[in-house]
């Protein structure tokens, strides 16, 4: 009846119980609050069934923030364990639990924080930047989000019921094979990643088509905003790389469930193939999360320098170049697997070549500031920190890309310091910058700037303290993922410093979350009185009111140059005429949510070998898809009168500020 699921699955170490109970308590409080405020109907109509990319984008960000808390909690546990567990002391985590924690940390941060962050940003910004009212496939977009959310939820379920993977975030076989990991942990990982991965592929298709087909009249490719360009370079990577992940995970699934021999040691399997395949997805993935952040900074730096981006054409080609090369460098993740030197050198050189366009970008950003008027608001502070850290981590990346050096630092904490420099210094700081920058666009008010600054300084100093010593630890021979080490290694003082750094980051993150709530509570004080263009922007998203009306643009803009709003402000382009027309928007549908829920049930049932439930949920998914596909494509019409009224209301609000 319940497959492998027994009562034992609910027994945990005490440290985990605390997390479980606080989570359950939080969930109950949330449900109670919604019921008390009688907001269920609102939640259902306005959010859960929505196909509006702005709403979906905000839901992405909410899931990202929740998953960030989880991944960050994992990080703190790792740091605490490593600061404590030296010599005779064994810390507060068992080795199995520790391995669960770092596997969960990596999985959460990459799949559910970084991926969610970029899709969230794209949902919010891309339709606005290209002057579109909607995305190309609104339902597919919603479905992509719900699959992402159910994958994220499945990892949270693994906290409560059973245990998570202990094989690291990429779960190399044979360790992740049935022989060495017979329990449910790897299965949780497989299904969580699989479901979210399918969602990413769908979202990728949607945004690729959106950018190619939905641009407003006159916006040719070379007149697109640079963030949209970065997305356009990223989406083919998603569409081409994620199917590799899906196929690889299916093969691992077949190995584990049906005793097949794709990646096993015996029976003619080849686990080295898994390592190749997972990195053939994994390296493009690195750029999938990084490229959009290049786009973010390329929007922020010009805005706060009161200039246009220096060398736009150069930037675009650099993006395209990086996207292209990112597919032929995957082997640099395992120079140490024993390939011949010639093979290693090929991949080493390809990797180094990526540094060229990346370096060009850095110079272009710097020279955007040249002869500008640079305002150091918090997005610009994040850029400042990004530039320092990213450049440094880039340099260590070049070191790692040289095979002889890589042999000495591979899988050591040097590597960890390098890619956290990229992932935190690049992606996360980029996300924070984007979050602060575009926050007023979607809410109509600012984040508290003072708190943001405090958070920033905590993050920057905490980050340097937490990751610079890791380079040294790597040189001292400290490998990654150690739950215990000897006192004679001399690592302990550095691990303590690193732990202090992590604690300072914790303070920073706490200030940020507090700042978010504080800003929401005090939104009246922080209201954006400009009505939609607080930063003196250059691109189309700043030409409409904040928060944007449901239809984004009352009149679809026509564009004849780069940075259209900037051109209008400088009198180089005419102020657009307002000729309203009826607007057609897709109606809400709960099918995305249903499919997400059934996918969650399916993943859970497969994890625990509850076959009947798996079959039922799988059939339900198919039924939902069929119902959706055979339905009429219905639209909601917003009439000219309604548009006029909404626009007039915005104008009245603007007047009241004066």
């Amino acid at each position: 009846m319940f497959g492998r699921l027994t009562l034992d699955a609910f027994k945990h170490e005490s440290s985990q119980n605390g997390a479980v109970f606080s989570m359950l308590f939080g969930a109950i409080c949330l449900i109670g609050l919604i019921s008390y405020l009688k907001r269920w109907k609102w939640l259902w109509n306005e959010w859960l069934t929505t196909v509006d990319p702005k709403r979906i984008g905000i839901m992405y960000i909410v899931v990202v923030l929740i998953m960030f808390l989880k991944g960050f909690g994992d990080a703190i546990m790792i740091r605490l364990q490593q600061a404590m567990s030296v010599g005779d002391s064994h810390g507060f985590l068992s080795s199995t639990h520790f391995q669960e924690v770092f596997s969960s940390h990596g999985t959460t941060m990459i799949f559910f924080v970084a991926m969610g962050a970029i899709f969230g940003l794209m949902n919010l910004i891309i339709p606005l930047q290209i002057g579109a009212r909607d995305v190309a496939f609104p339902f597919l977009n919603a479905l992509g989000f719900w699959l992402f959310a159910s994958g994220a939820f499945l990892t949270i379920v693994s906290l409560t019921i059973g245990s998570f993977s202990t094989a690291g975030w990429l779960a190399y076989p044979p360790l992740s094979g049935i022989e060495y990991s017979p329990n449910e942990g790897i299965d949780y990982w497989i299904w969580a990643v699989q479901i979210a991965g399918v969602g990413s592929t769908l979202s990728g298709i949607n945004f690729l088509v959106t950018i190619l087909k939905m641009r407003c009249p006159g916006m040719t490719l070379m007149k697109m905003p640079i963030f949209t360009w970065s997305a356009l370079c990223t989406m083919p990577l998603v569409v081409l790389a994620f199917p590799i992940l899906t196929a690889t995970l299916y093969m691992l699934t077949l190995d584990r469930y049906l005793g097949m021999h794709f990646f096993t040691v015996d029976g003619g399997g080849n686990y080295m193939m898994y390592v190749n395949l997972i990195w053939a997805w994994g390296h493009p993935e690195v750029y999938i999360i990084m490229l959009p952040m290049f786009g973010v900074f390329s929007e922020i730096v010009p805005t706060f320098s009161e200039k246009r981006l220096f060398g736009y054409v150069s930037m675009v080609w650099a993006l395209i170049f990086i996207a292209f090369i990112s597919f032929i460098v995957w082997l640099h993740h395992f120079f140490t697997m024993g390939a011949s030197p010639t093979v290693n050198v090929f991949f080493a050189i390809m990797t180094m070549i990526i540094a060229i366009p990346t370096g060009v970008k850095i110079f272009n950003w710097l020279f955007t500031k040249f002869r500008g008027r640079v305002h150091f608001t918090s997005p610009m502070l994040w850029f400042f920190a990004f530039l320092l850290n990213f450049t440094f981590a880039g340099m260590t990346g070049i070191l790692l890309s040289s095979p002889p050096v890589d042999f000495q630092v591979h899988n050591s904490l040097f590597l960890i310091a390098h890619f956290h420099g990229m992932a935190i210094g690049g992606v996360l700081f980029g996300f924070f910058a984007a979050f602060t920058y575009w926050f007023p666009k979607f809410t109509g008010f600012f984040l508290d700037e003072t708190l943001n600054r405090y958070a920033f300084w905590c993050w920057l100093s905490g980050f340097l303290l937490a990751f610079m010593p890791l380079y040294m630890l790597g040189f001292m021979g400290a490998t990654r993922r150690l739950d215990h080490y000897d006192a004679s290694t001399g690592w302990h003082p550095l691990f303590v410093i690193v732990g202090i750094g992590a604690f300072i980051i914790l303070i920073g993150a706490t200030i940020q979350f507090f700042g978010l709530f504080w800003s929401i509570i005090n939104r009246k004080k922080n209201w954006d009185h400009t009505g939609g263009d607080p930063w003196n922007g250059r691109t189309l998203e700043w030409s409409i009111s904040s928060p944007p009306p449901i239809y984004n643009f009352a009149v679809i803009p026509t564009v004849d140059q780069l940075d259209p709003l900037w051109a209008i402000k400088r009198g180089e382009a005419p102020i657009p005429q307002k000729r309203y027309e009826n607007i057609y928007l897709p109606i809400n549908t709960p099918m995305g949510l249903y499919i997400g829920i059934f996918s969650l049930i399916f993943g859970f049932a497969m994890t625990w070998h509850i076959w009947w439930l798996a079959i039922v949920s799988f059939v339900s998914i198919l039924v939902c898809v069929i119902i959706r596909l055979s339905g009429e494509d219905e639209h909601e019409i917003i009439t000219v009168a309604q548009v006029k009224e909404i626009e007039a209301a915005h104008a009245r609000r603007m007047k009241s500020y004066e």
Partner: protein
């Protein structure tokens, strides 16, 4: 100009403190590193290695690092200078929003990284071939083979030439090229002795090779660098590079060990165990390593 909430001017002061504070952090790190290096000198295996291979690898690291600094340092200086000069309210900062393109400047910063990468690539190409872990090291002393098996969660070292074996301990004479033949009878591990040179994966059914040499006498820490399950953190071993005499002494005592190792006893040893103590064995089956590598190679059944 910025509007709305941020109308208040960004005065000289905060920008100054921002740059100062960041500069201070960077400075502290810069000073900390040499202090750490002086203090932990003996522990920093990668930077103060004891074998030719590791020294070569470290030298390459330094050369690439210096080449990279040629780009990094100007970037850092420009970051600070531009932040200071072009802060919004600096009366001396010329504002010219139309400087958005300069072909010569862009040629320069496409060109310089290209040249750098070309140099580093050539260097890497030569060094990768030179330091190929599979390649024997030239030396006046005769090469010695040690076979390594990664088990759950310990290292087995087999000396086919001497007829002995040991667990979590490996000894060999200094200045003698060692050819490690490496496999695993466990999930994938990585065999790493940072004082002597880079690592290579230890994988079931596969034989990888790592050629190392110790320049001087000493005990060096070795470990597994790739997660392999529950007892992974305890998979450390002592590498002892000793004089010839000491080595032969040790071999002699190992040969008199009451523990013997053949396939059957190996299978007992291979059972999972954590933080295994050091053990030595008489090797009864000289082809043990090959049998372990070929364990999963079943003959094709008709």
């Amino acid at each position: 100009m910025l509007r709305g909430l941020f109308k208040q001017k960004m005065t000289k002061k905060p920008v100054f403190y921002m740059l100062l504070f960041t500069g201070l952090i960077l400075l502290v790190i810069l000073i900390m590193q040499p202090l750490q290096i002086l203090h932990f000198r003996e522990k920093i295996a990668v930077l103060f290695p004891k074998g030719i291979i590791a020294i070569e690898e470290r030298n390459l690291l330094f050369i690439i690092q210096i080449l990279m600094l040629i780009i990094i340092i100007p970037v850092y200086i420009l970051t600070f200078i531009f932040s200071w000069i072009y802060r919004a309210d600096n009366p001396k900062g010329n504002y010219d929003p139309d400087i958005v393109d300069n072909r010569i400047a862009e040629y320069i910063w496409w060109g310089i990284p290209c040249v750098m990468v070309l140099i580093v690539s050539i260097l890497t190409g030569i060094k990768t071939h030179e330091l190929d872990p599979f390649k024997s090291i030239e030396s006046k002393n005769k090469e010695m083979t040690i076979q390594v098996v990664a088990l759950q969660w310990k290292w087995l070292f087999i000396y086919p030439e001497e007829g002995i074996a040991s667990v979590n301990f490996v000894q060999f004479p200094e200045s003698t090229p060692i050819r490690f033949e490496i496999t695993a009878d466990a999930p994938m591990n990585s065999f790493w002795i940072p004082h002597l040179g880079g690592q290579i994966y230890a994988m079931p059914k596969m034989k990888t090779v790592l050629n190392l040499i110790a320049n001087e006498i000493g005990d060096f820490r070795g470990s597994s660098a790739n997660i392999s399950g529950e007892g992974f953190a305890g998979m450390t071993f002592v590498t002892r590079a000793s004089t010839d005499d000491d080595y032969h002494q040790w071999v002699k005592s190992a040969k008199q060990s009451s523990n013997t190792l053949n396939l059957k006893e190996y299978n007992q040893l291979a059972a999972p165990s954590q933080n295994n103590p050091v053990e030595t064995f008489q090797l009864k089956d000289l082809s043990l390593f090959d049998q372990i590598v070929n364990k999963y190679m079943h003959p094709h059944k008709e």
